[in-house]
């Protein structure tokens, strides 16, 4: 659906050209959502509006990120939507686009000091906060006294991991300070790599002499790694584990009871909102979002659409399916059919 108008766009004014929207996604490894959900929903929205689009993924490579942006501008996009890998790179791209008269949107991640027209996102700190609260809830349900908590943070080089951590720290740190909870371990997982996460968690468990009562893991993949180790020690289900992204695997773990909760971000809503704004920009319209976010670095109030992430427990797994984010076929395969039925998923 793209590239069919390339080549001839050297000369100035772009108003009479067919609008074309470029989207740069960050990677496919920190979370599956970018390729499995965002791409799908955005493509659908653009198609419905009849605008051309070019969606690419930088694969966690900042150099590639810059290159893709160059290429999209060269390719003649009129609106550029980015999920930055970090604010610095993001800013470089946004500035370059601006100097070429290309409108820009920050998607999911705000580029500090940037120049995007809009910001559409879930609040990453809020995600972390939900995780922290979820863990507290599960521990309370289990009635554990003075629980020992292990952190499995995201990649140390990923700024979002830091934001998530800020979120759950805001919930849990007071409890550590008041000695209500104990922090048993706190490690980051390089590159969100699940295999390394398993080793890291196994060592956390060894170091704590087996006394870990709750795992705050930053996403479902890391959570599953922790669960695999717990299973090996026959502790699965006894130690609550958190997650994020509402992956099929994560939801299944929740249904079985091995995982306590995940955070679901209604990507479709986010994608639809962003697509609407982008299509508007492409057609030269300016929309009012009714909300702004302050860019602490640039000191600018960025018009924003902010969506609420949602905590998912066993009780409301159904909501994710109802949203169409995962299908019943995927989730309720084989052994999970009965569990699905129990959870009211039909």
């Amino acid at each position: 659906a793209c590239g069919d108008n390339g080549g001839s766009d050297q000369a100035g004014g772009s108003t009479d050209k067919k609008p074309k929207i470029g989207v740069i996604l960050p990677d496919s490894k920190s979370s599956a959502r970018w390729e499995t959900a965002d791409r799908k929903y955005l493509e659908a929205a653009f198609k419905a509006a009849g605008v051309d689009s070019d969606i690419q993924n930088a694969q966690d490579d900042k150099n590639a990120f810059g290159t893709i942006a160059d290429q999209m501008i060269t390719n003649g996009v009129t609106v550029l939507m980015i999920v930055n890998l970090d604010s610095g790179t993001g800013k470089a791209v946004l500035d370059k686009a601006k100097s070429q008269g290309v409108a820009t949107i920050d998607y999911d991640r705000l580029t500090l000091g940037g120049s995007a027209q809009y910001y559409v996102s879930f609040d990453n700190e809020a995600v972390g906060k939900l995780q922290g609260e979820g863990l507290v809830k599960c521990l309370t349900d289990k009635g554990v006294k003075n629980p020992a908590i292990a952190y499995l943070n995201g990649s140390p080089t990923d700024n979002n991991a830091t934001l998530f951590k800020n979120g759950y720290d805001s919930v849990l740190k007071p409890k550590f300070d008041s000695k209500e909870y104990t922090k048993a371990a706190d490690d980051s997982v390089p590159g969100w790599d699940n295999a390394q996460a398993a080793t890291i968690f196994e060592q956390q468990l060894t170091k704590a002499g087996g006394k870990i009562d709750g795992v705050l893991s930053a996403n479902d993949g890391l959570g599953n790694a922790a669960i695999s180790v717990l299973k090996k020690n026959k502790l699965n289900g006894k130690v609550p584990v958190t997650g994020q992204d509402a992956t099929v695997e994560g939801l299944q773990n929740i249904l079985v009871g091995d995982q306590c909760m995940t955070v679901y971000k209604a990507v479709k809503k986010e994608a639809d909102a962003a697509a609407e704004l982008a299509i508007g920009l492409a057609k030269g319209e300016k929309k009012n979002t009714g909300q702004t976010v302050k860019d602490p670095e640039g000191g600018r109030d960025v018009p924003a659409v902010l969506l609420e992430p949602k905590a998912i427990y066993k009780e409301n797994v159904k909501d994710v399916v109802d949203d169409g984010y995962v299908t019943k076929d995927e989730l309720c395969k084989d052994a999970y059919a009965k569990l699905c039925a129990d959870a009211g998923i039909s």
């Binding site: 790599d193 398993a198 695999s228 090996k232």
Partner: protein
């Protein structure tokens, strides 16, 4: 033409049959001369273990000992295959992602398509073999340098893994047999049985060889040395099995946890098989020859292309096995399986163990020892509780320190002129 009288069968019989004393003396002279085999790698391991035990006493527990095996298994298996490629002076950058692709096939076949576990395992290994065949053909027949071929494969396999995962979703593995591979243990009795079998087999091979050589009047190690070796193996295996058969559950009420992890016999069998292939078959001999001097091997009538292709097949096949173990350990496969540092660690394991990147020098045991070094470092560092930045730095420094032990103990080799 001076025709000097040359005695045909000289004082060959005069050469004294070695005694235990002279054997030890010769061994010590060899060690001082720099021909030290596996000693430095073992030295590294011991030094690391002592260091970590002092820093974190929990390192020395039975539970942690058992963890070591499962943590290091996948990388060790991949490294074992890489030894073959390195022996030819080639490199396979794609081994990591090849294991990822094979794991993805496994997961798809068993979870998505719902076939039984053995079909999935066969499919995964078959995929590995096909991948290896492809790489080998490109290297040997088309003549592209293996670095470039496998760099291209490194990229392509990442893409294939993503596509097999529908662009990024994980696939869970729920099959009990597959999960058992990296997560369950042998019943204690079976552990003892296997250990006894291993010792008996080793004894049989060693004694048979001894008698055969003695019968032919060839130089051989004294029987006492042979018996000592057998005894040493029995002791090591005995202690290891004993420790692994200790109860290591955090809470016996919940569940009992003891026995030799299932990956251990898997690694052991593969180690024996590949060591046999390299040391005792003409195929293995040819691998060394091609790695040592490709032109000489060609002139000796060895089908060099076939050897070159075969090592890639073995390497990717072993990568598949590694991928299966990794998938079992994580209970799932994701697009990053076999990614990040897996490849570097696997090559590093082989090299740390003593395999040369220039070909012609290396053993499968190197991969296991090197893999153990890396697993111990990883394991120990996990107990230290550093922040990620510090952890990286300390890991690097520890690795360097371990390698320095090796390098310094090998320096004598250079000093005495042996290479």
């Amino acid at each position: 033409m001076t025709t000097t009288a040359v005695k045909k069968e000289g004082p060959a019989a005069v050469t004294p049959a070695p005694t235990v004393g002279s054997h030890l003396h010769n061994y010590w002279a060899r060690v001082r001369g720099g021909d030290i085999g596996a000693l430095p790698a073992v030295g590294m391991l011991v030094a690391l273990c002592i260091g970590f035990s002092i820093a974190r006493p929990v390192f020395l527990t039975a539970g942690n000992f058992a963890n070591l095996f499962t943590q290091g298994a996948a990388i060790t298996l991949i490294a074992m295959g890489l030894v073959f490629v390195l022996l030819l002076g080639e490199i396979d950058l794609s081994a990591g992602f090849a294991s990822g692709v094979c794991a993805a096939i496994l997961a798809n076949v068993v979870t998505v398509l719902g076939y039984p576990w053995y079909v999935a395992v066969l499919a995964a290994i078959a995929t590995g073999l096909v991948i290896g065949l492809l790489l080998g053909l490109l290297v040997a027949k088309v003549g592209i340098p293996s670095f470039v071929v496998t760099l291209a494969a490194f990229l392509a396999f990442q893409g294939i893994a993503l596509m097999l995962m529908k662009e990024g979703a994980n696939i869970s593995i729920r099959d009990d047999v597959l999960l058992a591979i990296a997560n369950r243990n042998l019943p204690p009795v079976v552990g003892w049985l296997l250990a006894a079998l291993a010792v008996a087999g080793y004894a049989a091979v060693q004694l048979r060889r001894h008698w055969q050589r003695t019968a032919r009047g060839l130089l051989t190690d004294p029987i006492a040395v042979v018996l000592t070796r057998i005894g040493a193996l029995a002791l090591i295996l005995g202690v290891a099995v004993y420790i692994l058969n200790l109860e290591r559950s955090r809470n016996v009420l919940f569940a009992s946890l003891k026995g030799v992890p299932i990956v251990v016999p898997i690694i052991a069998v593969l180690l024996i098989v590949w060591a046999f292939v390299l040391q005792r078959t003409s195929y293995g001999r040819h691998v060394y020859a091609v790695g040592g001097n490709r032109e000489a091997a060609r002139r000796a009538g060895i089908n060099v292309d076939r050897i070159r292709i075969s090592v890639f097949v073995i390497c990717s096949g072993m990568a598949a096995v590694g991928g299966i173990v990794a998938a079992s350990r994580l209970n799932s496969v994701d697009p990053n399986t076999g990614g990040s540092s897996v490849l570097l660690y696997a090559v590093g394991a082989a090299v740390i163990g003593g395999t040369s990147l220039f070909g012609g020098k290396g053993r499968v045991l190197d991969a296991v020892l090197g893999g153990a070094v890396i697993a111990v470092i990883d394991n120990g560092m996990g107990l230290m509780g550093y922040s990620s930045g510090v952890k990286y730095v300390v890991t690097g420094v520890v690795l360097l320190g371990a390698a320095a032990i090796d390098a310094l103990s090998r320096r004598r080799a250079a000093a005495t002129g042996t290479r």
